[in-house]
């Protein structure tokens, strides 16, 4: 019995390891290609690069040559930060409400909240533009943020709901019976459990907004120029290597951010214990 189990376990780990390895390969290969390409010494995107150099990073960071790209990047970051922050609040509140109302109405509303993810964003952008101009407004950063907010909320909602389903009702009840107020219960019981979900969803929301082309296409204006749209043109007409360098900057920045956050979290944990 034990022997058969051990054999089964070996097979199990082989399959899991193999599939997991394949997942890692699929996840990383394109990113490695992008990073290697961004280091090319040549004037256009090319793989493998004939020589290595950091010139495209220099070109990308040079305000003289890439000032308009920085502007677009700043706009994109602003919109992404606002829409992700608002999505975090709206998504979490909606998830908490839906969790407490597992009725047919709740399920319908759940579907309503999910549908922005499903509706092709191009149509949403077009319809939103028709609507905004019907009200005699011109597209602005505010409308752009509102548009992004709608399409990124589902990420927060979905991940938070998944964590909420792990919340044991008994925990809430015992907290309440021990005399804790609803806010205290939320902060000390509910929040720690759903925090990973909120964080994951907010991160997904932020990245989805940064990389959004279709909604921005219709709701942006000359003064709210967005990064991905600008990059399309650079890629299509001249295989501009700065497009790859921009991803390189984002990757390095994100890794540094993750490490710093990790340190901070570790530090606070040590201080509090």
């Amino acid at each position: 019995m034990v022997d058969r189990n051990r054999l089964e376990d070996v097979a199990y780990w082989l399959v899991v390891g193999g599939l997991g390895g394949l997942a890692l390969l699929i996840l990383t290969t394109p990113v490695v290609v992008v990073l290697v390409t961004s280091l090319t010494s040549e004037p256009s995107l090319q793989f493998p690069p004939p020589g290595l150099s950091l010139q495209w990073y220099a070109a990308l960071l040079d305000p003289e040559r890439s000032g308009h790209i920085h502007e677009a990047a700043l706009n994109s970051l602003k919109v992404a930060a606002w829409s992700a922050a608002l999505a975090m609040i709206v998504g979490t509140m909606a998830a908490l409400w839906l969790q407490r109302h597992p009725t047919a109405t709740g399920r319908t509303l759940d579907t309503v909240f999910m549908s922005p993810l499903v509706l092709p964003m191009l149509s949403f952008g077009l319809a939103a533009l028709i609507l905004i101009t019907l009200m005699r407004f011109r597209p602005s950063l505010m409308w752009l943020t509102a548009g992004h907010l709608v399409v990124v909320v589902p990420f927060v909602l979905r991940t938070t709901l998944a964590n909420l389903s792990q919340l044991d009702r008994a925990l809430l009840d015992s907290s309440r019976s021990l005399g804790a107020g609803p806010f205290y219960t939320f902060r000390r019981v509910t929040l720690p459990i759903i925090l990973p979900g909120i964080a994951a969803g907010t991160f997904l929301a932020f990245m989805a907004s940064i990389d959004n082309v279709p909604v921005s296409l219709f709701l942006s204006s000359a003064r709210t120029d967005m990064l991905p749209i600008r990059m399309w043109g650079m890629m299509e007409s001249s295989l501009d290597v700065r497009v790859a360098a921009a991803s390189g900057v984002l990757i390095v920045g994100a890794i540094v951010l993750l490490l710093v956050m990790d340190r901070l979290v570790g530090l606070t944990r040590r201080l509090s214990s």
């Binding site: 040549e42 004037p43 256009s44 995107l45 090319q46 793989f47 308009h68 077009l126 533009l129 028709i130 101009t133 005699r136 011109r138 597209p139 296409l217 219709f218 942006s220 204006s221 000359a222 003064r223 120029d225 749209i229 600008r230 399309w232 043109g233 650079m234 890629m235 299509e236 007409s237 001249s238 295989l239 501009d240």
Partner: protein, 343 residues
Amino acid sequence: MRSLNLDRRTFLGGATALAGSSALSLPARAAGDVVAAIYPGTWDEAFRSIVAPALQETKGVDLDLAPLYAVEQIAKARAARGLPPFDVFVLDPGPRASGVEMDLYEPFDVSKLENASKLPEGFVDTFGAPVAAQVVGIAYNPSKLPKPSGWADLFEEPFASRLGLTGFQTTYGTTSLIEIAKIFGGSETDVEPAFTKIKEILPQIAAVAQPSAMAGLFQQGQIDVMYGNTQAVATLKGRGVDIEFAMPETGAIAFVTTMHVAKGAENPAQAYQYIDTVVSADVQSKLMQPPYNFIPVNSDVELLASLPMASLDELSTFVRHDWSVINPQRADWIERFNREVAV
């Protein structure tokens, strides 16, 4: 009474001084700004580095550029009925004709352009003015393929299995497919022969792709021959891509890219100043130089030897198309293309 008088004089004097000083310190602001749509990529980069400073210097107008493809400009302006998101369109003939149908432009007053007389005859009309010419032919990789002599070659080996096709969604794609249809007996109103030939070589064709993917596919050797314009070929070549332009034996296709003032534009006066600056000899000759490679339309500009023509007068010898005939059929062609190439 006296003191009041004095007060007023002091006040008026102060106000005049204030206005004078602000006019001195900010001469540019007084002339306003203009928002213009621009093709993303080469056009965007070129206009940012050449047209914007020239417009600022000569007219004191600030230029804001909104990167949008032609079809997107029309879709956006149509959705925003009456509240155009920009003052000036830049369009190829196909989307331009759509805009005429949808009544998206202010009537164009050519007398507001100082450079009007320098523009090629017959190209300025009541809708807009030309700002660049485009010549479309065959682009191929000279180190992998011999030079193709015409459109028919694309359907024979060694070209067919290295061919990258795009559909009718762009002006250059549409005109190329019409030329292909003509070779095999079709016309501007009958592209059936092109569909028949495409179906024949579909199994061996290298790629049927979106226009935005073509440059990447070409660079990485997925395709080695496609249709394209001289500007795109020269730009990629300037960036080290192994690419050459081949003039088809039946003639290359030529059309002009035009600019239009949007109906309901916020800054119509500046819009004309902007277009005038774009077609001025100085700006046109700068746009013609690498890395931008525009084909100028101002007759004062001496053409570079690398351009596909010696003078602008030759424009009429190239293959031209009637977009008022083509446009009504385009929706059907696009749908048809989907059906024919779908796996």
